[in-house]
């Protein structure tokens, strides 16, 4: 790869000298030889600016040779009669060296700037991550410590219903906390590229089914409608990851819309992909929010409940992108929000027909 780009530099060196030579031959009848030298100098400058030192020096040497052979008397030989042309040659070489050094140092500066910018971004993500963790972990930890210590210290004096309520809240908070930690880890792994996607043929119907089974308790008070065409093609994806992506969208609905909200899960095949949609008819997201929703640590202003919305959606988007799809949100007629993502389609796999003799 690197060798190739270096070769390209040398090739352009030849091209530049060739072009300068043609221009020089055209100019020759009417212009002074010194001006032709300027054209060669231009070629040297251009190559030195665009490529590394090697091609720049090559251009200078070639330019000197061509200029000497074709234009410096006696023409048609490499002999130099007038000593002043030696100065021209030296200047050409010096220009090549000086410019390529300048360009190199500018390039180094730019690379340094870029790596500083990446560092700053990493730092920003890290602090947002810490803020998010401390916010989303503190409350459940406080609830767990409080409820469990009540149980441990005065469990016998509490009535059974209260005891059960406290114990249940410890369980729920612990479960949510564990899921949040899993999401933070997942986002980190997605960001650092530590996730390997394990593609296999999967059915979007089955993914929908298993997400709904996993989230059954949390979506119990919502009205979930599933619309899947019967002939939905199979997709080659990492089903576990896509399950997470879809799960995050549905969890979002569970968290941020009120009970009895209608949630519609749909999948529509198109020419080269399948669009998976989770729609709710709760209204509430303003137009400018749509893109921000997917930001890493954005906390939805929607009804102010829950938290960590952004993390779920950012993970969804990262997973979908890993698969070569897109994820976005948009308003739907009737005052709801649609979260959509696409999964690319591949040529359908073949399956041997079943013989009756089997």
């Amino acid at each position: 790869m690197k060798d190739r780009s270096r070769l390209v530099g040398y090739a352009w060196a030849l091209v530049a000298v060739g072009a300068a030579t043609l221009a020089g031959l055209g100019m020759q009848p009417r212009f002074d030889v010194v001006n032709i030298a300027m054209v060669y100098l231009l070629a040297v400058v251009v190559i030195a600016l665009r490529y590394t030192r090697g091609p720049a020096i090559a251009t200078a040497v070639l330019a000197v040779a061509a200029f000497d052979y074709l234009f410096v008397p006696p023409r048609g030989t490499f002999t130099v009669e007038d000593v002043q042309y030696l100065l021209t040659f030296a200047i050409m070489l010096a220009v090549a060296l000086i410019i390529s050094r300048l360009v190199e140092s500018v390039r180094r500066q730019a690379a340094k700037q870029a790596s500083l910018a990446i560092e700053a971004e990493t730092e920003r993500i890290r602090s947002a991550l810490l803020a998010s963790i401390s916010h989303d972990l503190r409350t459940p930890l406080a609830v767990m410590a409080g409820a469990s210590s009540s149980l441990a210290e005065s469990g016998e004096r509490l009535d059974p219903a209260e005891r059960r309520a406290l114990a249940t809240s410890v369980f729920r908070q612990a479960r949510d906390l564990s899921e949040h930690v899993a999401k933070v880890l997942q986002m980190t792994r997605l960001e650092t590229g530590a996730i390997r996607i394990d593609r296999d043929w999967a059915s979007v119907g089955e993914i929908v089914e298993s997400v709904l089974a996993r989230l059954a308790e949390r979506l119990a008070s919502h009205r979930v409608i599933v619309e899947l065409p019967d002939d939905l093609p199979l997709v080659r994806v990492d089903a576990t990851l896509v399950e997470q992506a879809l799960g995050n969208l549905l969890e979002n609905c569970a968290k941020h819309t009120s009970a009895d909200t209608v949630v519609r899960v749909r999948a529509q095949p198109r020419a080269s992909d399948i669009v998976v949609t989770v729609e709710d008819y709760a209204g509430g997201v303003s137009d400018c929010e749509f893109e921000r929703l997917f930001a890493k640590f954005h906390h939805g202003t929607v009804e102010g409940a829950g938290g960590g919305v952004g993390l779920g959606l950012a993970i969804c988007r990262a997973i979908v992108r890993l698969h070569g799809g897109q994820a976005w949100a948009e308003r739907v007629p009737g005052g709801g929000t649609a979260f959509r993502f696409t999964l690319p389609l591949e040529a359908a796999p073949t399956i041997p027909p079943e013989t009756v003799a089997d």
Partner: protein
Amino acid sequence: MSDARSTVLVVEDEPEIRRFLRAALGVEGYRVVESATGRRGCIDAGTHKPDLAIVDLALPDLDGVEVIRRIRAWSPMPIIVLSARIQERSKIDALDAGADDYVTKPFAVGELLARVRAALRHAVRPASGGLVLHFGDAIVDLEQRRASRTGHEVHLTPVEFRLLATLAKHAGMVVTHRQLLTEVWGPAHASDTHYLRIYMKQLRDKLERDPVRPAHLMTETGIGYRLVPTA
């Protein structure tokens, strides 16, 4: 409680996790044997002859999958695996190595107990017992190769029957893609997952009340399938 005094071996290195497992299993009437290491677990499995083993996958001395292999080498006892969320791969390895089911940490005790009950029930009344399956509106006679739903005859192809029979052999428990493909289509097709996607859809379309949201022929995303019989 019909499983009363069944012995359950718990191979888990975390004492706090052993503590609540001991409490929960004890309340249900099981006798609990605890092993804090994989090697100890393999020995205890031989000396205590438990009816079921619960094995943590992340043990300090021996890989949980290896513990399962060693127990499986001589015993058909049901094995349930405890795995962390990030151990997706080793969970599948454990199931392929002979574990019967899994629970992902953190789990609700009720979930684990349900798996324990299903596994013990299965161990008491293995494969040959359940030749006629009842689930939801469907009745499938695996021996006569006849199936019906809401009283109407349903035609199942030979492959569909074989797939259903394989799931039924492990009723209530998860069966991995690899296990199903190997048993139904043969070892050469062990990674042709799309066969399963297509045939499971056909089975659901024919036997489930709502094929889109099945109640019995369940998907375990990334792992396999589970036939949940009517309780």
